[in-house]
Subunit: 564 residues, 2 copies
């Protein structure tokens, strides 16, 4: 590239600085200017909940690189505290304003990069500007929440509106800070954009155990404050929730104001339209990070993917392409992982609901499992849900929830999904095994094999929700518990349909069951239940299934035994 | 399948029981017989080092399923304490002997499964039968070592012969038991079949820090005992090593005696030849687990893969296929993970040496990295080495060593390798990100990008071994440290060629360097060194490289600064 190439980058959080650094490495002589409204570049916004909780106790840790690094080491011009006001694509100029003194100026560019990020979504609710109502998207937001929390009067009741990723991370942060936390979610479950109901419900059960109050299906309508203008109540229709602090975590929307005003194409999702080279509808303007729309690699449909990981990948590609390169970004899989107290919650690809919406006929497995060999100490459990296309067995997505190492399994699934793996492919991947790290069969192998067993007709199941419905309806069927008597004593499903017949006695006492009964079998994880189903199949029973995931995936109450 | 199908399985550790259970699930009416020499079925042999160290304290934990489970619950015949003596493929019979009473009998089969496993390799060394010399492959071996250790006189000096997976796991077990441990390895490094020298040397450095004495390049020639027939010395040519306990961990070889006698094809690796359906040269005889040879998915060459994970996958496929199914096993990638004290050591695919042997022109990256966002507490480091094919960028393999979460990265690489990923594919996989789990760019993304930078000519490097050689040769060049003065004070490479010029001052003080000098740059992880290389490139320097992995991958000594 010639020395004249002037690259101007608007936005200094993740995609912008990454694009700048990459551009500098690709072209040591380019002129590079970064425009950022705030005071910092390269901020670790994904860490803000941990900064608020005090897990990260120093604000300096939230800034990866000081402006000096960009200016002195990398020979760039850095305009912090500066707002980009408008773009003139024809003239190749950006009008900017110094926020402190209001001074305006015009910057010429050869290549422009829009990394304008996203803004928290805030509906026009009555009272939304009361003191004590926060959103969280940058360091000033985080400091405001920290300050408010440090006033002991504000510590009592926290209401988090929106059970998305930030809402759940902040639930932990507020509990850590000594608050009582209620999460209000308008939809029917936590992480509704990410998890299926059968996985979300297990997370909700755990959150309640951790003392978090979860209220789903309630739409906020406004807020009430006190005489000092401080929030005191969250109003949701006829219901009120006491609140000293409110966090609005309803998700984000792409900040496309500049792009829209400049006449760039905006996609159906509301993000800036880009091609695979991250070029906007103007070939001299690139865009990346939270402000653009991505392609979902499974559906090939446009989606929003406001993730720091994606923003960094975008930044590198843009840095390459604005300096004469030609790299393409393939797309995203909606991978997400979140720490919720001691639970690891991850998902990638399409969940069952999304897959059906996308027109897939699905088959799924719900598999409670240990993260590594149970005989090696310290193994923690989780539930794996895999979703595949019926017939082809094409893997569509996965969800993992529990204390075990979910992140590893999500990343393996992300990799498998990238290459269009089938369930059969997944079942045979040579994953590394040693007792401290895994079982000889990885939980993903096991979950894939359950789907293979369903596909081949060996395994027939009913979901926990399906079993619950039958119990509620008072259906006549046998809910057969095939665990041991001590397990049965400790905990079992309540219902007159429930009967105990341990697996090891099943063949001997098989005549206690009738071949014409509808029988649904459960154990703890479904391994024994599946075995029992096959034994009954072999004995000529005609209407036998087992419950997906069994007791470990049962979100409802259980009873302790009285006398048996 | 008809009721007459009699499946006879020889071997009860991993593949055998898995095949039996799967066969029963596929065909509830098949007749299934398991023949096992030992007393237990389904033993957790991979956990034996942890049973010896006491991390697993109960022998019962080493047996996953009791014979009762197979007999009563699953309706099989279990012949423990029974040795298969010979097979007559024409007659479809197996001759067996009850080990206790010597009684012999003949069993007919329709389908025979060989899961005969492997045996520890023991050369015909003088004195190899002395008391105190052990191998480790089953529970009786482990109990023998435990008993010997419990005699306090035997606790002093342990010599482990062979620095393979079991040797390293046992080094930790013996140190935990209070022993002094020396590892003798005939080849030039630890885990020589798995790791490249540049990774192995970092593990050796760590093992020495943990107090383990590592001696590479010494071939054992024999042993000397005392008057009680107890081992006292290991002899390696002219060298002697005091030894109260010796563990021979030289690897295993497939136990193919029965197969060979029956006239089945044995492969070039010494394992039983099987096709992708795990059928031997006799279509009614299947084989799986340690006794067979596998196909390496990258080279398509036969290899041995004596791993519990592979044995279980084999078992499931065999169970399917002996009951009328037709499933194929694709092959292996040589995935391995091992805990060595607090280090996690993993590898998959081909290492650089293996890739070159297989005829690939290779390009590699050596990348020290943190396991997750550094600003989130508790992040541990590791070194990632990726190997790819020059030109095509096809991923060939990866190695990870350090305290960080290596297992996740190995499993992602295993998945990517399964699908023939390129380095470019790897760099853009949508891996899940949140600060407790990862950085916005996963270390694998970073390592893949380093290779892309090398491929595109942006990054030019020399290995630590190459730099060491230049220092030893007294070559004239500048070894440029671009870290900060405090880092330089704390630790730096020793040599008259070494100079400090911090990255942030590089542009300003660039005239302190000569454009014609040969300059090799290092920092801590190579991120700054690469940046410095690009700055010097841009300033017209002609002969600049950086050192792969920099100080974090430097296995040699460093000096503390005196005065600067």
């Amino acid at each position: 590239m010639s020395k004249q190439n002037h690259i101007v980058i608007i936005g200094g959080t993740a995609c912008g600085p990454k694009a700048a650094v990459r551009a500098r490495r690709c072209d040591p002589s380019a002129r590079i200017t970064i425009i950022e409204q705030g005071e910092d570049l390269s901020t670790a916004t994904c860490g803000l909940p941990y900064y608020i909780s005090g897990v990260i106790d120093n604000e300096d840790n939230m800034v990866a690189k000081q402006p000096d690094y960009f200016e002195i080491t990398l020979d760039m011009e850095v305009l912090t505290g500066t707002r980009a006001m408008s773009i003139d694509p024809q003239a190749h100029t950006v009008k900017v304003m110094n926020i402190e003194n209001g001074e305006r100026s015009t910057i010429n560019y050869d290549k422009l990069v829009l990394a304008t990020g996203s803004k928290p979504l805030v509906p026009d609710w009555k009272g939304k500007n009361l003191d004590g109502i926060f959103t969280l998207s940058d360091i000033p937001d985080a400091n405001a929440i920290r300050d408010y929390l440090s006033d002991s009067e504000n510590k009592k009741q926290v209401v988090i509106v929106g059970a998305g990723l930030i809402g759940l991370e902040m639930a932990e942060a507020f509990v850590t800070a000594g608050c009582n936390v209620t999460i209000l979610e308008a939809l029917d479950r936590v992480l509704p954009a990410l998890l299926d109901p059968d996985i979300a419900v297990m997370l909700e059960k755990y959150l309640r155990e951790e003392g978090v109050n979860i209220v789903c299906g309630q739409r906020v309508t406004g807020f009430q404050g006190d005489e000092n203008g401080r929030v005191r109540k969250v109003i949701a229709g006829d219901t009120e929730h006491q609140a000293d602090i409110v966090l609005l975590s309803l998700g984000v929307r792409p900040d496309v104001a500049l792009a829209k005003d400049a006449g760039l194409s905006i996609g159906s999702t509301g993000g800036i339209s880009i091609d695979k080279y991250l070029q906007t509808s103007d070939p001299d303007i690139y865009a990346g990070g939270d402000c653009v729309e991505n392609i979902n690699l499974i559906t090939r449909e446009p989606v929003l993917a406001p993730m720091g990981s994606t923003a960094n990948k975008h930044g590198r590609i843009i840095g390459t392409n604005v300096t004469g390169g030609r790299e393409a970004f393939p797309g995203v899989l909606g991978a997400a992982i979140v720490k919720v107290f001691d639970y690891n919650v991850g998902r990638v690809g399409l969940n069952e609901s999304q897959a059906r919406e996308a027109g897939y006929d699905t088959v799924m497995s719900l598999v409670p499992s240990d993260e590594h060999a149970t005989y090696y100490p310290g193994s923690r459990g989780f539930i794996v849900k895999l979703v595949a296309e019926k017939g082809t067995g094409k893997l569509l997505g996965g969800q993992v929830v529990g204390m075990g190492d979910a992140a590893k399994r999500i990343d393996v699934l992300a990799t498998a999904l990238t290459f269009g793996a089938t369930i059969g492919d997944l079942a045979d991947i040579d994953l590394a095994y040693a007792p401290p790290y895994n079982s000889a069969m990885d939980p993903l192998h096991h979950a894939a094999n359950v789907i293979r067993n369903k596909q081949s007709g060996l395994a027939r199941t009913l979901t926990p929700a399906g079993v619950w419905k039958k119990l509620e309806n008072g259906d006549r069927f046998v809910l057969l518990d095939v665990r041991t008597p001590p397990e049965w004593q400790e905990q079992r499903i309540d219902g007159e349909q429930v009967r105990l017949l341990p697996l090891q006695e099943l063949r001997r006492k098989i005549n206690k069951l009738s071949v014409d009964d509808e029988i649904i079998i459960y154990c703890r994880t479904s391994v024994r239940a599946y075995q029992a189903q096959r034994i009954l199949d072999g004995a000529g029973f005609k209407n036998v299934k087992f419950m997906d995931g069994s007791l470990d995936a049962w979100p409802h109450g259980t009873i302790p035994a009285s006398t048996d």
